[in-house]
């Protein structure tokens, strides 16, 4: 399993804040390991669509379907891991 560095983790947190317009949040307020949906950050499927688009625009990586999305959007760390894995394939 590839381990993302702090810089990438920070970039993912910025992406979440910017795409979802969480204007009153800062990257420090988002826990790297916390669940993004439900009890964690409280995101929902409409937010997921924004994040899919954000990952594509910012990192050029594509979430192909709901099954992959479910795994990728577990936490900031799993998002960062997915970005690294996909970029490594190019």
């Amino acid at each position: 399993m590839v381990e993302p560095n702090d810089h990438l983790i920070e970039k993912i947190k910025y992406l979440i804040i910017q795409r979802l317009k969480l204007v009153e949040m800062t990257p420090e307020m988002i826990e790297t390991e916390a669940p993004l949906f439900g009890e964690g950050l409280g995101l929902d499927s409409i937010d997921a669509l924004e994040l899919v688009l954000g990952l594509e625009k910012e990192f050029g990586v594509v979430i192909p379907d709901a099954e992959v999305g479910k795994k990728v959007f577990q936490s900031v760390r799993t998002m960062a891991q997915f970005v690294l894995e996909q970029q490594g394939k190019v």
Binding site: L20, K21, D44, S45, I46, L49, V52, P64, D65, A66
Partner: protein, 300 residues
Amino acid sequence: MGRTAFCFPGQLQERPTLEDHHPLREDSHFKEWVAKAYHQTKFNLLNFSFEEESEDQFNLKLQISTYLLSMVFFYRLRSAGWVPDFLAEHSMGIYAALAASEAISFEDGLFITESIGRLLEREGSLRRGAMASIIGLSLEEVQKICRQLDGYHLFIANYNGSMHYVLSGEEEGVDKAVSLALSRKAISATRLAFNTALHSSSFLSLREEILNLLKDIKFRAPKFPVINHWTVQPLKREEIKDFLSQEIGRPVYWVRCVEKLIQKGVNQFVEVGYESTLTKLIRWINREADAFSTGDHLQR
């Protein structure tokens, strides 16, 4: 100077959590309107139940809760000095939008919400239907799914965004549509709480019954323009009855409505409700628009 639209959401999908320490419980508007609603309907928002319950009526309770919470948030906004230029509504948000515009009274809005809610409960037991939200597929792809499942009477009930649609129809067909959507790479496809095929043409058969329910209600000209999402023009007083009688049998064109409001100079959208579904849909339709939900604002 930009203009402001107040947006009234459709039915909540989950019971609102108004636990003991919830800030709304101390609000004077909340106390007043929840008490009035209890007096009129015997529904208690605080414990999400009717005084006497013989059956679950989950959707009916959600509908009354949605109406009440929207009205409480509306009165809070008005007390704080907010004045909307336009009102927009999604699905059953029309009842609160009309009461907020003073086209009908709070009591009449509550009466309509409860009466149509009971009609839908009855329909749900007579001819069960379902609804599902499909996110991440284009309109063409969603239409293709409906065509492929021809025979299950599937309709696009809500046009919520370029990649966000709600389907309505027979339960088995809706379940099949969810599976098909997921197999075609939707980001999300899930059943909603409804037990009826709301916003499908099968509900146009209730038109006369709804008109009969409305026969004693006095409609006034809306004090704030309420946008009709079919014509994207403000609803006129004389059109309201007819709109209400067809509303549950025709689709919700939310994208069209938001785009029209932006054309009219609206750059601030306030979702007058407990959740932030419309806020997120507006964010998708136009990222430049400033949108927030009163429910989120309260919890911050």
